[in-house]
Point group: C2
Chain length 444, copies 2
């Protein structure tokens, strides 16, 4: 049956829980493009209810009288509403609301990555047991259709590697630090003023947000359920501008990289500021954008990039999920996701086994034999040195007391976290090094 | 029902028509990863028949006895075969075979863009009338899931712009010309030796291949059915190395760009060597890769890149289509594609109305007032000049006869094809210019 014939049938009724930035964007698309959505879904989509906490708050959108309510039950208990758009942040009562929506017979579209990350097993299983679906394209990388790509378009592949910039706030700050020669605090301040960072930016800049998204991608791509504590995680909040400069000298830039990689049937998993070679695709992602590199064992390497957050990009993903749910694709997808693999086909790689090249910066006393001592310790721990930077000390200090320290940068060849940590224990005993030292992995 | 329960049911039987490079890749994935595919499709996929022209030719793959045949009817007439993978090149008998497969009750997966471009209406309509489906992810951009993205993931959007590198051969040649300072013939020769270009590379390097892919994307994104003749098309086969150098001086590189853009409710459509600013994503696509930038009215700008051809990348797309067809997604998608819009929602923009900045190179006599004459003609045609390069003539020629010519490069501000053509008619009358001159659009 051609879809045009079905437009006349009863519309699908939709309830939105949460009419914040994204919710308002979704409501706008639903009300401004009804014909487009009907053509693509095969049925009309009609916004029946939008649930808000504060009825008095202005929303920047006109909805028909009676649409906006402060009662979640107006969606949960309305048997005519087929699909709920769940845009409630945090864990509680977001979890309880989502469960109630499923029990109320609604298929659910959500953008809450933290919730899926923490309570995903319970929520997904409940949905399946009740014959309902949960779609969550908007939970990872905003407007980039990465869930559909991993779960559907690359279905011929075993994904073997995910390398991604998943936090736009961090990427914006790193871009500004590199471009403007600003330190972290200065770049953060500007990001907050321009709305690219929240008043409390902790979850963005400490790597938690990127780690949650990585956990969801890892689950879908590898069938492996990781906890936040399983992700070797470091944020950009303690990144020193000097490291961006030294990385630049070496032909690299620094990105907050989320990595999940299949190595010897184990999954390597981490989110860290990482040196990325300047000519590679990830190094070209500037400002508040996201990018994901996926390697599949059949297709090879593919790249996806775009706006990782924001009102309309996220609304684009939510509405795509709505259309998929109405058209029946979500049901087909949901049953076949790698979410359901049990036992998990791969285990997590112990942190100390993670292999990488490393960037190391030591603050060392400017006196003879320091480099030799460090090189000796690295060498005895089987860590070989790829390159070294040690500049002459600033002129004013030349010839002054040996208590002056200078930065020493060492790029290693491939080694393991474990070996590096062994070496670091020995290095800590050298009194020519002023702690703490800096270390970051190097991509590739 | 969890998909694992259904693995036990009767497998879906598949016939491949054409066991060339891609066909062999598809057969490899089907035979090497049966568990993976069964999990994702919900049913086992079993390769029942592979049809070849020459039974004696070695294939580099072991298939069970009786699988390989030289009779297309072994697929068409086998009522047990559910899906046919159609990998027959060209138009005839590819068209007739595809029609026979549909009439034989098969759902079809094809990679033949030329066929869909020329006979798409007949084939798609026949499929729909017979209750069958045609999936064609592999027809555009190889391993990049661009059909799924346009038709499904960005369904909330009206796509407003497509800018893409769709021909890997041309991009490989352009990359080598720029990197190695080779002329076209030299780069083509190397591309042929390495297997990146065919013995007769015409359809790749003259822009036809990219235009066919653009026509399919345009149909899906805008609901507009264009013919090859509608695409303002120019290849890289007459590109002069000097233009790559001058573009470089101006901060640009040259890419064979396929563009479809919604401007004032009309679709601008062209494939041309185009100046692309060096810092932009398309400029970073090197070698035989493809990349597509899509702008949607909700999501904004998103980017997709990866291997645009090759055995396994294309097989990845074909097998994804097979899985979608088995799982039921293809049926849902096929009915809702913008293919069926009638009348077309937009018209094609007349060529003379296409707006762009332009790169112009004239070969001019090295004598007074030539630049003034050219600038005067451009100015009277409302074309304003953004930048100019005219180098001093090589030293050996300085002071020699006025018959020596030198290159003059002019970058214009935005103007239309029509205005530029008017100006060109006048310029042709200047006897200080040696025809022909070069012109290319500038992206952005």
């Amino acid at each position: 049956m051609p879809p045009s014939a079905s437009h006349a049938s009863k519309p699908i009724l939709i309830g939105i829980i949460g009419l914040g930035t994204v919710g308002t964007g979704v409501a706008r698309v639903l009300t401004e493009h009804p014909e487009r959505l009907a053509r693509r879904a095969g049925r009309r989509l009609e916004l029946r209810r939008a649930v808000v906490r504060d009825l008095g708050k202005p929303r920047g959108i006109e909805l028909p009288p009676g649409t906006v309510t402060d009662q979640v039950s107006a969606v949960i208990d309305d048997p005519e509403i087929d699909i709920a758009v769940h845009l409630v942040g945090g864990i509680h009562p977001a979890r309880e609301i989502l469960l109630d929506l499923l029990k109320g017979g609604k298929d659910v579209v959500t953008a809450n990555k933290a919730l899926l990350c923490e309570c995903g097993e319970e929520l997904f299983t409940t949905a399946r047991d009740l014959g309902r679906t949960i779609a969550f394209e908007a939970a990872v990388a905003g407007g980039i259709p990465i869930i559909a790509t991993v779960a559907q378009s690359l279905a011929a592949n075993q994904i073997t590697s995910i390398s991604a910039i998943l936090n736009g706030t961090s990427n914006y700050i790193l871009t500004q630090m590199a471009r403007e020669n600003w330190d972290y605090a200065q770049a953060l301040h500007q990001a907050q003023q321009l709305g690219f960072a929240e008043a409390d930016p902790t979850l963005d800049v400490d790597g938690s947000d990127a780690a949650q998204k990585l956990i969801l991608l890892t689950w879908l791509a590898f069938g492996v359920r990781a906890q936040l504590a399983d992700v070797h995680r470091q944020g950009i909040d303690r990144l020193d501008l000097s490291d961006l400069r030294f990385a630049g000298e070496l032909g690299y830039t620094i990105k907050l990289l989320a990595v999940a990689r299949l190595v010897n049937q184990q999954i390597e998993l981490h989110v860290q500021p990482t040196l990325v070679r300047r000519q590679t695709p990830l190094a070209q992602i500037h400002g508040p954008f996201n990018a994901i590199g996926l390697v599949g064992d059949v297709v090879g390497e593919t790249w996806y990039s775009g706006p990782g957050a924001g009102q309309m990009p996220t609304a684009s993903a939510v509405v795509a999920d709505l259309i998929d749910t109405v058209a029946g694709r979500t049901r087909i997808n949901f049953e076949r996701l790698e979410l359901w693999r049990s036992p998990a086909p791969f285990s997590l790689q112990p942190r100390e086994k993670i292999e990488s090249r490393f960037y190391l910066r030591f603050q060392v006393l400017d006196r003879p034999h320091v480099l030799a001592d460090i090189a000796d310790i690295l060498g005895r721990n089987q860590i070989s040195i790829a390159s070294v930077i040690q500049h002459e000390p600033p002129e004013s200090l030349t010839g002054s007391s040996s208590a002056n320290t200078v930065p020493l940068i060492i790029m290693t060849h491939r080694t393991t976290e474990g070996q590096l940590r062994e070496a670091e224990r020995e290095l800590a005993r050298l009194n020519a090094i002023t702690p703490p030292h800096v270390r970051m992995p190097v991509a590739g």
